[in-house]
Amino acid sequence: MLDRHHSRRAFLRAALQAAKGSCIALTIPAVLSACDQANEARKQQAAFTNLTEAEALAFAAIAARIMPSDETPGAEEAGVIYFMDTVLTDAEQLAFLRDGLTGLRQAAESAFGTSDFHLLPPQSQDQLLRAIEDGEFFGTMRFLTIAGMFCLPEYGGNRDNVGYQIIGFEDRHAWVPPFGSYDAERGGNI
């Protein structure tokens, strides 16, 4: 009875993605206070509060491969790196990501002769990321990229709601029927 178009395996594989990287989590007061600090620091011309310039370049480059900018905006336009900088306040979590980045730089060095991941062409970046896509470092980068893409803008990402625009979500407080094309077609309620 399971039709050829039906996929349970793909669904489970997809669901597994959702579970990865959720080690990055803070309580909301901590996040909001981190947002305030980051905004304050930016006012004083400091680009980043928790990340170094080099880390930010590399993380932003990874995010830009996860959610690339093409005909529609990606991680760069959404300001995902600022979200990452804001929420990465925990020393242990940051140390874990720094280790991951060191590994990625070594892989870049041995494959392409440079440890500057962010300067590599996209195809080379993708090649390096595909090699680690099942690992926890990449899972965490993916988690943070998506969180930064679709969070409320007050957390530092999803600038101008670009994340909402690419997925087709309109953050309105009120709707009236019809909501979608099938109920519009059907007419009244009962």
Binding site: M1, H6, S7, L12, A14, A25, L129, F150, V176, Y182
Partner: protein
């Protein structure tokens, strides 16, 4: 009588632990009857202006559902031979005034007559504690109707719905595209889809406004008070009596009993750790199906060495989650399932499965928003239809997966088993130093077979609805957590195998009452909150009558 606030060293008539679906009703009913009531709630008193469409906050930082990172770790294991592993949480519930009635989806099915007597009709099931309830649907019906009208429920009586003494107070919610697709599929396959009953107002009721269809119900607090939580419907009425004091940020550590075996007071911590104790003539625990048994187990004494009210050994046992399955379908036109309420149409043709299938079970199917209609949740999940989970193609498919999909979900029975339970973890402690909640759970093979049955029906329905691709899931290897926390202090006539009597009084302690999901004898088919609320109105009625007769 003294008015609230009440001094802690003088006994109030009732201390109620928990202000959720049951506790809010208990507080309103007992305070309205003229009793002095103190409600102890461990969370804050959030209100509509506090709630936001904040997926990062609620879903990824557990702002409402506290867990490990808030100082409330839990542990989980499959069976008693395993060492339980620490998890964020396995037994999920909201920590705030109104409890999980604030953030729930609002789906509001009544049980049916069969649910209360299924063991007699269907036969007992070896190896399980499957049993009849000591009350019938007829006993509970007036209280179901009371819930409908007092809190506000929207719906339309369906063809095989249980009898009701009064129509729904509010018209059904407007249909959405997932509901239209479920209707179409049902018509083709010979089933009946009809409006899902919800505790969300379709029109103004009791001074509250109708829903504005923002779409953030499931996991979120309602920003306009259209969701009929006990926080907006009951707590204000309780406080308005002048007989009820609500103390928030108060975590109960122990229910204290005297040598006569009666409850005398309740120990608790205020938010800053200050120890307090409120004296009471009687205590009602409405702390939910995880915290109520935990508190009883924590309240052991010489007289009650295995935990308070636990002479049967049933405290914490028979935990039931309800089974769950989901199938997503991809459609040609825009569905926009994220707008308006979580579930708009329901099919109850499979309420009782034919015993000839070889397993026990039953349930309902409803039309839903995939990934609860959340953008971050949709993207966090890779592509359920098999595409990549990052990169340009992934990004391009997100819009398709968000805008053009609907889900049909199965909600099903769980059998009561002694081996599925809530106990105190011997190793892990919470921020107060109390042993953490330990959940031991493995779905019964019949429960898994039932989930599979519903999963297969929803695939057929999706195909009949015209989905071009489908993808889905059921808990083939068993569930590892849930937000339905049922059965852990079951109701019954026999003190040897139940914790409370038919009127929610514990068999062992005459002035201790329990009412929440823990009271349920069987699981129903999902969506237990309506039954928890109806039980609370009925229990409050019984407790009031007993108190007036001087029988507490």
């Amino acid at each position: 009588m003294a008015e609230a606030p009440f001094p802690t060293r003088e006994p109030v008539d009732f201390v109620i632990v928990g202000s959720g679906a049951a506790g809010g009703i208990m507080a309103k009913e007992l305070a309205t009857a003229g009793f002095s009531v103190v409600v102890l709630e461990q969370g804050p008193h959030l209100q509509a202006p506090d709630f936001k469409h904040d997926e990062w906050g609620y879903d990824y930082n557990n702002e409402l559902m506290w867990g490990k990172r808030h100082g409330h770790p839990q542990t989980f294991r499959r069976n008693e031979n395993e060492e339980a592993q620490e998890v964020e949480f396995s037994l999920g519930y909201a920590h705030n005034v109104g409890g999980s009635s604030v953030h729930f989806s609002g789906n509001f099915w009544r049980l049916r007559p069969i649910d209360f007597m299924e063991a007699s009709v269907r036969g007992t099931i070896p190896g399980t504690n499957f049993a009849d309830w000591p009350i019938s649907y007829e006993d509970l019906e007036p209280y179901y109707t009371k819930v409908d009208w007092e809190i506000g429920v929207s719906g339309l009586q369906g063809p095989w719905d249980p009898p009701r003494s009064r129509a729904y107070p509010c018209a059904p919610m407007p249909i959405k595209s997932p509901g239209v697709l479920l209707e179409r599929a049902a018509e083709q396959l010979g089933y009946t889809a009809y409006p899902a009953p919800v505790a969300i107002l379709s029109e103004p009721h009791n001074g509250r406004p109708g829903c504005i269809h923002c779409g953030f119900c499931n996991g979120y607090g309602c920003e306009v008070n259209a969701k009929s939580s006990s926080m907006v419907t009951m707590i204000p009425l309780a406080l308005a009596t002048g007989n009820c004091e609500l103390r928030t940020g108060c975590t109960v550590s122990r229910v204290v009993t005297n040598e006569a075996g009666r409850v005398t007071e309740v120990n608790y911590w205020e938010e800053d750790g200050t120890e307090q104790s409120q004296r009471a003539n009687a205590v009602v625990l409405c702390a939910n199906g995880a915290e109520t048994p935990r508190l009883l187990l924590l309240s052991e004494s010489n007289l009650h060495p295995d935990g308070l009210a636990n002479s049967s050994g049933m405290v914490g046992k028979n935990l039931m989650f309800n089974g769950y399955s989901t199938v997503m379908g991809l459609f040609e036109n825009e569905v926009h399932a994220y707008k308006s309420i979580p579930a708009d149409r329901v099919i109850h043709d499979f309420y009782e499965l034919d015993p000839a299938l070889g397993f026990y079970g039953g349930g309902g199917i409803d039309s839903r928003h995939p990934n609860r209609g959340l953008p971050m949740g949709t993207a966090m999940m890779g592509d359920p239809f098999g595409g990549p989970s990052w990169g340009a193609e992934f990004k391009q498919n997100l819009r398709r997966n968000f805008v053009y999909t609907a889900a049909f979900d199965g909600h099903t029975t769980s059998l009561p088993l002694a081996t599925n339970n809530v106990t105190l973890d011997p190793n892990v402690r919470d921020k107060w130093g109390r042993p953490a909640l330990r959940c031991t759970y493995m779905d019964h093979p019949d429960d898994i077979a039932t989930m599979r049955f519903f999963y297969e029906r929803t695939i057929e329905l999706m195909e009949a609805a015209g989905a071009t691709q489908t993808a889905g899931f059921y808990a083939e290897d068993g569930q590892t957590g849930n937000v339905h926390l049922l059965g852990t202090c079951r109701m019954g006539t026999n003190p040897d195998n139940s914790v409370i009597d038919a009127n929610h009084r514990t068999h062992d302690v005459p002035n201790l009452f329990l009412c929440d999901g823990s009271s349920m004898v069987t699981s129903g088919r999902g969506q237990p909150t309506m039954t928890i609320m109806a039980m609370a109105f009925r229990a409050a009625d019984q407790i009031t009558q007993a108190a007036r007769r001087g029988e507490i």
